[in-house]
Amino acid sequence: MRKYYISLLILILIATTLFLGIGCKKETTETTNAETTVASTASETTETVTTVAETTAEKKPSGKITVWSWHDLDKEVAELFMKENPNIEVEVVKIGPWDIETKLLTAIASGRGAPDVAAVVSRRFQRFASGTGMTDLTEYVGDDASNYLEAPLKEHMYDGKIFALPVTVAVMACLYRRDLFEKYGLEIPETMADLYKIKEKLPKDMYVMPLFVPSGQWGSDAFRVYMQLAGGTIFDENGKVIQNNAAGKQTMNYYKQLIDDKVVMTGAWFTPESYAAIGEGKVVLWLTNISEPSNLMAKFPELSGKWGMAPLPLWEEGSPAITAEYGVKGFCVPAQSKNIPAAEEFVKWICSSKTAQDKFAQNFWFSAYKPYLDSSEILKQPNEYLGGTIPLDVFNAREIKYYNFIDWVQTSDILGQEIDAMFGGEKTPDQAWNDFESRLIGEKLGL
């Protein structure tokens, strides 16, 4: 009998432990594999408070929100937000961009675990916008939507509705070494053909610019920009694959020509080796992200004043003066958010307020909010590292061309594979492009 009661007691203890261990709390925030900082003086907690309190007659949003973002700067900006909005507590959880996508996907699929606000890589946002996992911000943004740059805003829209707002915009620009240009008597390229004029004046062991080889996804993004310069796009307005795409084939052939004529320095970029090559002056210019100077300043402070920045060259004389998105970041409000009013307030503030945008501008990030761009003192100041270049002048010199990023994750992967097949000599440029189109259609990407 005694054995029976002891066993029963142990069974109750085990059952209680089990229920405590696997029971789900109503409000939990998943913070595994993430660095969590509480951007306030409150004690650290892993629970998200779900109540929205009516505090004043204006019924301002209040409560606590959790923000997933990969950049440390967002934590500093969140602190500034809380000073202006003391009723809202912001907890910024640092998670890498691809991890945010994975976690968002898991959260939406499972119906739980999403934050109140998430930073997103805009060109990869379409798959989230097309579902039901995001809050429709159209009504909240209202007429203010017209104050955002059209192309970046459209990347966060689906079916005419806004599901995220662009916080910073990076376009492709031309970074060049002023000292090397002076040394070799070079001129800033006006068109892509001018890259050849630069090559003619350089020693044999130097190159005009780098090119992603192997291409992979990074190189696909660069290719897409060049294709837009050439007046082309992969999917039409309705999302269908454009077949027999002349601009695509033209860009593929141009790529191959650049390598065959040794105009470009090939290699994997954004690696220690690639930065070493840049530091040693192996390349005299770099068609890259307009925000790249912030990385160069950190890595090569000794090159201050030796760099310059110019607008992206035209495809050819008479072509439209355009550039393309090369890194837009946005903020969305998942539908699972338990404090949507506060989350919307945060998103709107970080994407449009002078306080937030000034902080980003100090780090070479450009706003997508037109009133800020028109009034920013920081972006209008001549930049010492860039030899006196005024960054905003370069940004404004080109119109940002919109691109329909349908299924961009898989599209860029396939494009990268076909470009690499061409680089490896397995296919001619035309074959690589034709196979790319066939694979897109075969995979039923787009509509």
């Binding site: 939406i108 699929a109 192997p214 290699g267 220690p272 080796e273 990268g416 594979q417 690499d420």
Partner: protein, 302 residues
């Protein structure tokens, strides 16, 4: 009779309750997802929109997918190349190490240091290893190319990003990381071998090489079979090294099955298709495991 057994188990129920938490959790977190993912393999679902039941379409698509076959091919090539090089390397290095220690050729401290240094790679974080390999095998500033050029051998190969060499870099990395781990087993086995057998062989006129092939290897057979068995299963699950170093590229030269699975589920949001890949691959692994059991443990089975 049945009633007798029923009474027996009814009276002795409490041990089952003690072991039940494990089985409950195992069912929820292990068996459950396996069953659910099997169901997912019959769906077209991106995790966000509504799922659509499509029957066996995912499996049909898989068997006509050239990338799937490429991934399987790369996985098999890497696995069997790895096994062919790993086993002799582990045995030779372990024997060398055992000889160094036994004959006190380098002193206790140095022989311990050498033994530890073989094990260090497995303890290093994959990201650190990738950076090291990037620096050593880089095209322009890599240590290897600089060394080759200084020896008069012109080398401008981007070892990691060249489709012809990328796979062998992955193989080298995997061997470098794991050799030390398996050496522990062989070294321990060597240490436990009876010395009198070798003395008897010496009296009979056997030389070192003969003793190695006729005595050492047969006595280490069970350990070697264990290493082959485990390393084969783990090698088929290769993911970390190609993912961190090359991402499966360039142009799918290092695409292995788990990377293809990951890309489909996480990057392309093709959860149904990815589930189908996982089931087909699991089936392949089960067949290989059965084959291994029949080949390696045939005598014991008999």
């Amino acid at each position: 009779m049945i009633k007798k057994y029923k009474n027996y188990y009814f009276k002795n129920w409490y041990p089952y309750f003690f072991i039940s938490p494990f089985f409950i959790l195992f069912t929820i977190f292990w068996i459950g997802p396996i069953i659910v993912s099997f169901y997912y393999s019959f769906l077209q679902w991106d995790g966000i929109s509504k799922a659509v039941f499509i029957g066996f379409d995912n499996y049909k698509g898989l068997f006509s997918d050239p990338l799937f076959y490429k991934a399987i091919k790369n996985t098999f090539i890497l696995t069997f190349s790895y096994e062919i090089i790993l086993i002799p390397t582990v045995i030779i290095l372990s024997v060398l190490l055992a000889n160094i220690a036994e004959r006190n050729l380098a002193g206790k401290f140095i022989s311990n240091f050498i033994r530890s240094s073989f094990f260090v790679p497995i303890t290093m974080a994959m990201v650190i290893v990738a950076i090291i390999f990037d620096l050593v095998l880089g095209q322009r500033y890599g240590t290897l190319n600089i060394l080759l050029n200084s020896l008069g051998i012109t080398s401008n190969i981007d070892w990691i990003h060249n489709p012809n060499t990328a796979m062998w870099v992955i193989l080298l990395l995997r061997l470098w990381r794991n050799t030390g781990y398996y050496m522990i087993f062989v070294y321990a086995g060597l240490k436990s071998l009876p010395k009198d057998v070798y003395e008897a062989a010496k009296v009979d006129g056997a030389n070192s090489l003969g003793a190695f092939f006729k005595i050492t290897l047969p006595l280490l057979k069970n350990i070697i079979m264990f290493i082959i068995f485990m390393s084969l299963i783990w090698q088929f699950q290769l993911f970390d090294e190609p993912w961190v170093l090359t991402g499966g590229g360039p142009n799918n030269a290092t695409l292995v099955i788990l990377i293809y699975l990951y890309k489909n589920i996480i990057e392309y949001s093709r959860i149904g298709y990815g589930s189908a890949i996982s089931y087909v691959f699991t089936l392949i692994l089960i067949l290989i495991a059965i084959l291994q059991l029949r080949v390696f443990f045939r005598e014991k089975v008999k």
